[in-house]
Amino acid sequence: MLRYFVKRVLTLVPILLVVAFLVFWLMGQTGDPARTMAGETATEEQLEMMREELGLNTPIAVRFGRWLSDAVLRGDFGESLYGKDCWQEFALRFPHTLKLAIASILLTVVIAVPFGIISAVKQNSWVDTLLSSTAMLGLSMPTFWMGMLLIVLFSVQLGWLPSGGDDGSIYSLLMPMFCSAVNNAALVTRMTRSSMVDQIRADYLRTARAKGVSEKKVILKHALKNALIPIITTIGTQLSFLIGGTTVIETVFSWPGVGSYTVASIRSNDFMPATCNVVLISILTAVILLVVDMLYAFVDPRIKARYKRG
């Protein structure tokens, strides 16, 4: 298990390096930061001076090398065009993103897993149809549109909830959490249902029932445990996506997280914070996916045995 873990971590290093270089290079292709910073009245001479000061005239490989060595050796991820420390800004925003991601994924699990199980158990009944239709509705409704409707209803008309931002209260969390959970729950419900349906038909469950095991135990202990791997994979992927900063939700609800900050940075050609955010999120995503892989071993003894074999 440990060997597998170390092997996976070592595999991540070149992947993250490639990701970091691609992000660094691509961000550098989007517009001219010097022009953004100097404003519309800057002369070409001033722009050239600004490019020199920002190091934009240095070859990309050299710039990337410097940035990487500063980031790895000194934890210095660079500065925004306006002199803000990228790491500090990330650290300031990440807790908001994490809060939203965790709240959203918890709500997703609370809604989706029971719905998926019920749907599978009551397969082809009216309950199944209702839950599947609801899931389909949640999946097909664009997040930004639902977000705007929620704001219009609960903030503008009813005045119950703040229209945006994170004031630290549960009220400001409710709409973005619900909005992102609805979309994710729809996916997880469908995945749970499909996975459970496969298990419910399996021979070992028929045997369990024949041996007189209660239906509740058959479903929750035997079927669910074996159906969990695709569900965990989906939830893990959703979580990494959420931690990446759900840019649309954060923008619609003005949530001060990493996603909205990254979008704002890209819009203003401020590519250093955008690069920093994307690279750090890539690392986090890789770690989450690694943790998800490790979790497989706890729910499936076959995988655990495979890890042991090496």
Binding site: G31, M49, L92, W126, L137
Partner: protein, 521 residues
């Protein structure tokens, strides 16, 4: 099964209809208040911006957010009054020049203190001028302002008198001196980041109530040299929103009290009984630029430029692109700009003549580039106008992040729609857009005749003669259309009915919210 689907659809429709209905519940809470009936001034008033504050240093960024904030936290040496077109005293009580107009002396108030307690002196004015002119590090390109290179030397005559000795005579030098003044001591002791936010204005940048990415705040300067009587609000907070839709929703929900806004939201705000809108003719100039290196149409031929301009229906454009919240412009100089002449008339709408000329010149197709929003709609109107003249126009949307570079490359397009803020000294805007070395001359236009005329303006030794020559230049630009002015958009302020005060400028950058207040029960 069918019933269930119907129920699900019904639920979804109820949700949507609830969201789209009239805002009844909130309206009952809000009635217009007055001080006479016992209302008091709120300690906090909130506004919002679609994006975070870049810098609280007046020379740290060129964005409207930085301007709004520093218009409240800094005073200027002297200030331009948009209504009168005159420079007015602010930190300097008076100013004068020698006969040759190459030495300008400013006399400062003696009762002004910075937010950190430093006393304003002539040394601060000298320091600010030289500091902003010094291209020493990356931030200084932003800090540089146009007049930074005009002075040969700056002399401190006494504690409250400072003299600028210019490299050449400049009768319009005061027009450049709407300079926000730093505290020399603050910057030297605290550094640029800390000291660069300390001004003398009626409000100070309140770091304790500022959270990056969420809110930035200014709080009242209780020792302001003008007193605090006109500044009713203790704290003005600017909440950070993701986009303009979020800002407007916040205004409607009461999360914020006022905001500048775009014409696209005019009807939404206007229809809300809790809100009201202030409008002002703005100085944001929309214009059509020609690509002078186009191989598709010879834009160096004035007849081609004039013919294209003649085909464009500006009335339609104002009605469609800005929903009537703009005025069509006949003069590249804004009505609020220095030296504006209402007598100047640009090329008038004459589609028949325009079409005939374009046919004669063999022009059958053009490509126009633009960014999203109002420029996109303006470009569509140009397309429709030119289509009537038999010209096939291809529209090409360019992302804002690449816009400046794309224009500057001058490839793959013949025309573009753009806008800029028309503010500042007499020749500043004309030169930056039209002069061959102008910072915003993306078109590639170069004309000896233009440069001769602008030199005539600069060569004058008194202000009235400069204005006279500037009028000649304005008419030349209108006749020769190096670029074609389309419209000046109105600046709009959406506010709660119980919010008053503040100054709505002709552009977002020119607004000043120092005197904003809100009445509460």
């Amino acid at each position: 099964m069918k019933k269930l689907v119907a129920v699900a659809l019904l639920m979804a429709m109820v949700f949507i209809l609830c969201a789209c209905g009239a805002p009844e519940q909130k309206n009952t809470e809000n009635i217009k208040l007055s001080v006479e009936e016992g209302a008091r001034y709120a300690e906090w008033v909130y506004s919002a911006t679609p994006g975070d504050l870049e810098s609280a240093d007046p020379y740290g960024s060129t964005t409207a957010r930085t301007e709004w904030l520093t218009n409240m936290t800094f005073d200027k040496l002297i200030a331009y009054n948009e209504e009168t077109g005159e420079m007015e005293p602010e930190l300097a009580t008076k100013w004068e020049s020698n006969e040759a107009k190459d030495e300008w002396t400013f006399y400062l108030r003696n009762d002004v203190y910075f937010h950190n307690g430093d006393h304003l002196t002539a040394e601060d004015v000298k320091f600010t001028y030289l500091h902003t002119a010094n291209l020493g590090d990356k931030m200084n390109v932003v800090r540089t302002f146009a007049a930074g290179t005009y002075a040969e030397s700056v002399e401190v005559i006494d504690e409250y008198t400072v003299k600028f000795v210019l490299k050449q005579p400049r009768p319009d030098f005061p027009m450049y001196m709407d300079m926000k003044v730093y505290s020399k001591n603050a910057i030297e002791t605290l550094g640029q980041a800390e000291g660069g936010v300390i001004g003398t204005g009626p409000y100070f940048f309140d770091k304790a109530n500022t959270v990056s990415g969420q809110i930035y705040t200014v709080s009242r300067n209780e020792n302001y040299w003008r007193g605090t009587e006109n500044y009713k609000t203790k704290h003005i907070g600017f909440k950070v929103y993701g986009d303009w839709n979020g800002v407007i929703a916040a205004l409607q929900s009461g999360d914020i009290d006022f905001t500048t806004m775009q014409s696209a939201h005019y009807r939404t705000v206007k229809s809300d009984p809790n809100l009201t809108i202030d409008e002002k003719v703005g100085c944001t100039s929309y214009y059509m630029g020609y690509n002078y290196t186009s191989t598709n149409a010879d834009m160096n031929d004035p007849e081609v430029r004039i013919a294209i301009a003649q085909c464009i229906n500006k009335d339609d454009m104002v009605a469609i692109a800005w929903e009537g919240l703009a005025v069509k412009s006949d003069n590249f100089c804004a009505p609020t700009g220095l030296g504006y002449s209402a007598d100047v008339k640009s090329v008038q709408y004459n589609p028949e003549q325009g079409a005939a000329t374009l046919k004669e010149k063999g022009i059958t197709s053009l490509t126009i580039i633009y960014t999203s929003g109002a420029p996109a709609v303006a470009a569509e109107v140009i397309q429709a106008s030119l289509k009537q003249a038999g010209i096939d126009v291809t529209l090409r949307l360019v992302d804002t992040t690449n816009w400046a570079s794309f224009k500057a490359a001058r490839e793959g397009y013949d025309l573009f729609v753009d806008y800029g803020s028309y503010r500042g000294a007499l020749l500043y805007n004309f030169n930056r857009f039209i002069h061959r070395d102008g910072a915003n001359n993306y078109t590639g236009f170069a004309s000896d005749e233009y440069e001769t005329l602008q030199n005539n303006v600069s060569a004058q030794r008194n202000w009235d003669d400069m204005l006279k020559e500037f009028k000649v230049l304005q008419q030349w630009v209108a006749d020769n259309v190096p670029l074609f002015p389309l419209a000046y958009t109105n600046t709009l302020l959406g506010r709660n009915i119980n919010v008053g005060g503040g100054y709505l400028g002709s552009s977002n950058n020119g607004c000043n919210w120092s005197t904003i207040y809100k009445l509460v029960k």
